[in-house]
């Protein structure tokens, strides 16, 4: 057994959050640059502003986007690791609390009914998976809600199949229109059950923009969905253009013989995702 003090996890979450607030992922930046050179007019103006904004953010030590998000934390915990110290949940929240205070990040978490802000952006949205080995892998995704609001989950019938999946993905982006800060990054969950399907969609967003699912039949859905989304013409910020999505990533899991759940999690063009393995 390897022992890991949860203080190390708190410090890791802190580092990842601080970095994520100020930085786009390399794959996102690359996709934005390609989009910027492909577009013209107002869409080009918007993409150019977004690329310059990241430089301003780093120079001025300000978050790239004021929506520093709900703190989504995915921890893959090796089963040969024994955790010591404060409870894992408290450690993760401690990292988030300190990062959002020190980084001058916005605190965006509130009670859903009375709308009172928790004041420190906790609780984080924490997923833990027990995996083989003695490592602890932590992913940090600050999830903005302009795009989260445009996400959908649909329970298709098995007969609707591949076409139904494609229609669901494209329709979700079309309904979202200009609202989620396009060009979007689309995470798709296919299969599982109601809740695990949504989680698959979220996990798809942890992948690099432009990466392909290793299963060819799934990768072909990613490619075809991206083509159909870009044919919608929504463009950057909804100003009209050729690039409405930077990428589509699908994750798949076995489902029940009676069903075909499809979840579409929309991510804005500010893809911020940091990872570290302890």
């Amino acid at each position: 057994m390897r022992t890991v003090d949860t203080q190390q996890i708190a410090d890791c979450v802190y580092r990842l959050a601080r970095r994520a607030g100020l930085t786009l992922t390399e794959s996102c930046r690359r996709a934005l640059k390609e989009a910027e050179s492909a577009e013209e007019g107002a869409a080009k103006f918007a993409l150019n502003a977004v690329l310059n904004n990241e430089q301003t953010a780093q120079r001025e030590h300000m978050p790239v986007c004021q929506d520093t998000g709900m703190a989504v934390v995915v921890i893959e915990l090796g089963q040969e690791v024994a955790l010591t110290g404060i409870p894992l949940r408290d450690a993760v929240d401690d990292g988030v609390r300190r990062a959002y205070a020190d980084g001058n990040f916005r605190k965006s978490i509130c009670d859903p009914l009375i709308r009172r802000n928790t004041g420190d952006n906790t609780p984080a949205h924490l997923h833990t998976e027990i995996v083989a080995g003695d490592r602890v892998s932590i992913s940090f995704l600050p999830k903005g809600f302009g795009s989260e609001n445009m996400s959908r989950l649909v329970m298709l019938t098995p007969a609707e199949g591949r076409e139904g999946i494609l229609d669901t993905i494209v329709e979700t982006v079309k309904i979202a229109g200009s609202r989620p800060c396009p060009p979007v990054y689309v995470g798709v969950g296919i299969g599982g059950c109601f809740d695990s399907c949504a989680y698959l969609a979220k996990k798809a967003l942890l992948r690099e923009v432009g990466s392909r699912n290793p299963r060819e039949d799934v990768a072909s859905i990613e490619r075809e969905a991206l083509g159909r989304i870009n044919a919608l013409g929504i463009g950057a910020q909804g100003f009209g253009g050729k690039i409405t999505a930077l990428g589509v990533s699908c994750e798949i899991a076995p489902t029940h013989i009676a069903g075909l759940p499809v979840a579409v999690n929309i991510q804005c063009h500010c893809v911020r995702c940091e990872k570290e393995t302890l």
Partner: protein, 179 residues
């Protein structure tokens, strides 16, 4: 060509959907919950924290200001959520709004009716906008944290005219369909 626009508007600006502008002057932040509070004040006939006539609302909730800065990161939020509030405020004399993304036909009609304008800021460019804020002061609802109303003096906000008072709408194609 980017036009320089200074608030309050003179009425001679000829703002057309698609125009890129650099906006300077005084604006007020208000998003979901601040609107709810403002509507509560209006319904009870109580005074608002600022003069609505000719004012510009910025649909935004800033990050805290770093040391030595007037404001933290401060880009626009999704305007469509404010469709339920915008027409009434426009009819009461609001000069216009700044936000991101499309707004409803009812809002567009209220913009035309009142010779107002809706500017699109670039979503995701929060550092750029925060850096262009020269002064920021919380003037109402401080318990709402970033959702409070801030009076801001801004300089050269890069914006695009999204819905104008002549029927122009950047989110609609010439055939009338939404893009």
């Amino acid at each position: 060509m980017t036009k320089k626009i200074i608030l309050p508007l003179s009425g001679k600006e000829e703002l057309r959907a698609g125009d890129a502008v650099l906006l300077s002057g005084t604006i007020y932040t208000a998003r979901d919950y601040a609107h709810k509070r403002i509507f509560g004040l209006l319904d009870r006939g109580e005074p608002l924290p600022f003069e609505l006539k000719g004012a510009f609302l910025y649909y935004a909730g800033p990050c805290p200001a770093p040391a030595g800065k007037a404001c933290g990161s401060c880009g626009p939020t999704t305007s469509a959520r404010m469709n339920v509030f915008a027409p009434r405020l426009l009819d009461l004399g609001l000069g216009g709004m700044i936000g991101k993304g499309e707004m409803s036909e009812a809002t567009a009609e209220a913009i035309r009716r009142n010779h107002a304008v809706y500017f699109a800021a670039i979503g995701g460019a929060g550092a750029t906008y925060g850096n262009a804020v020269r002064k920021a002061e919380c003037i109402a609802f401080p318990d709402l944290f970033s959702e409070a109303v801030y009076r801001m003096e801004v300089e050269d906000f890069p914006l695009v005219v999204a819905i104008d008072s002549f029927g122009g709408n950047i989110y609609r194609r010439s055939d009338g369909r939404s893009v």
